[in-house]
Amino acid sequence: MALEILDPTAEQTAVERPLAPGMPAGARIALLDIRKPRGDVFLDTVEATLVERGFSVERTAKPTFTKPAPPDLRSEIAERCDAVIEALAD
C-alpha cells in the first residue's frame, strides 16, 4: 500500500535568479565588503578593474560578516547604484 507522509518543508519553491544583465559603461556599481579578513584586498582589485573599464564604483560594507546585510543598507545600495558585487572571503 502506498504510504502517505506529511511534507516537512516550508513548501516554498526556490526562486530562480537569472544572472544580472551586462552593465553599460558609466554604470554605478556597489562593492559590498562582507567584512571578512582580506576581503578588501579582493575588492581593491575588482575596483581597479571596474574603473579601468569605465564604471564608477561605490565601496560599501556590511556591519559584520556573520549576519545578512541590514535592510537599510540593501535599500541604500539599490537607490544609489545600478548593480552590486558582493565579495566573499575565506
Binding site: 516537512p8 516550508a10 556573520t66
Partner: protein, 493 residues
Amino acid sequence: MAPELLVLVKHDCPVCDQVLPVFDDARAGGAPVRILSQSSAPDTAEQARRLGLGEVPALDEDLEASVRYDPDAVPAVLLLDGGAERGRVEGLDRARLSALAAQVGTTLDVSGLPEHRPGCASKARDPEVAARLAARAARRDGRIRSRVLTVGVLEDVHEALHERGLTDGLPVVPPTPERVVAMLAHSSRSPQDLVGSVPPYDGEATVEKVAINAVMAGCPAEALPVVLAAVEAACRPEFALHGLIATTHPAGPTVIVSGPHADRIGMNAGGNSLGQGNRANLTIGRALQLVVRNVGGSRPGVEDRAAHGQMGKVGSCFAERLDGMPWAPLGVARGVDAGDTAVVLVATEAPRLVIDQLAREPEALAASFALALRSIAHPKLVLAMDGLLLVGPEHGRVFAAAGWDRERLCEELFERTKAPAGELARGAGGSAEGIDPKWVSDPAMPVQKFAAADRILLAYAGGDAGLFSMVFGTWVAGEVGSTPVHARVEDWL
C-alpha cells in the same frame, strides 16, 4: 425526528452475530431500527449472507457514528431522540435491550438470546484505527495543513525520503499524519501557530512543521515542547542562525535543557550525557537541525558552507544535571523562574575534555579550566568567541565545597584567561596568527580572551565518577556574531 434505535456492529464479533438477526427482524417488521456496521462493505455483506439477514447493514462511513457515540464495545444499541442519546446498551443484555426497545414501541424477539454476554471492542478503539481517525479529523478541522507526499507501493520509504532530500543522511521516522497528530497532542499550542522564520530562506516553522520534523528525528512525543522552544530560540535575530548556517566554521546549535522537564521527558544528564543511548538527548537537537534543513532550506555544501562541520551538527543536545548542582541552573541564571525549564542555545564547536585529577582547591581547578578555555579557536585569538564550560560532578563539588557560585567562577576564569599581549602578537611563538602588533604597546599588558566574565557560560552535567569537564568553543560571538539565547519550555506535557 422520531426516536430510533441505532445498532452499531462489526463483522468479526460473535455477539454482534447473535443480536443482528433480532434487530434485522425488528426492522423488517417496521420498527425504527437503524443498523450500522463498522466493518468494510465486503465483510459486512459476507456477515449478512452468513447470518441470512434480510438487508445488508449500512456502513458507518469513517466510523463517524462510532466516534460520536464512542462505545467501548459492540454491539452497541443507542436510543436516539432527535440525535440526542436517551439510553444505551453495550454488549448483550437481554432485559435491558428489551426495555430500550420498548421505549420506541418495539418488542424484540430475544427468546433465542443468552441473558448476558459482553461485546467486543468497538473498532474506533483499535489504536491503529483511532490514530487514523484522529489524523483525518485534524485534516478536516485544519489543524494539519501540510501537503501530503505519497510514497509509492514499489518504493522503499527510507530510500524515498533520502532521494527527496528530506533527511540529514541518517534514516528518519516517516512522518505519517497519524504520528504527527499524536505528537501534536503534547503541545497546548495551535498547530498553525508560527514558531519562527527559519533561515536561510525564511521558511515558516509552524508548530505542525516542527512536529513533522520532530517525528522524523525520532523524538519522543512528549519532547515536542522542548523542540518548539529550541526552534523559537534559534530563530531569534541575536542568535544569527543565518550566519551560523552559512559559515565555513564548524559550529552548530547546541541545545541545553535546563530545568525539571528534562527529567520528565527522560533525558540523561548523568553518565554519557553527551554520548549515545538516550533517545531524547539524541533527537531534540536533531529535530532542530531537521527544521533548519527542511523548513529553512539549508543544505550542506550549498547554503551550509562548513569547511569540516562536526558530529554535533547532526544534533547537539544535553540536559543540565540538577542533582548536586553547585549553583542555580543555567536557565534560572538567565532569568527563567526557578522550577521552570529553559532551553539555552549556544553556537558551539564539538566539545573537548579537560582533565584535572589533582586539583582539590577551586583556584587550581579554575586555572586548569582557564588553560583549556584559552585554546578555543586558537590560543592567540582573543575577544572573538565565547566559551561554554560543562562542569562535571566531581569537579563541581570542589566549587560547591568552597562556596563558589556561578559568578565567582566566571570572574575567576575571566581573569585567568587573560594573557600578556606580547604572547598573543602575530609572529609570537612562531605562529602567524594573533593580534596586530600595532595594538601591542606594552608586551606585558594582559589581554582578555573573552569580552566579559558572563561570556563564559557554565553548565553542569555528567556521571558520578571522573574528574573531568568539557569545553565547547563557540562561533564568532557577541553583537557581531551569535549571542546565546534561551526560551522557556511550555508547561504542557
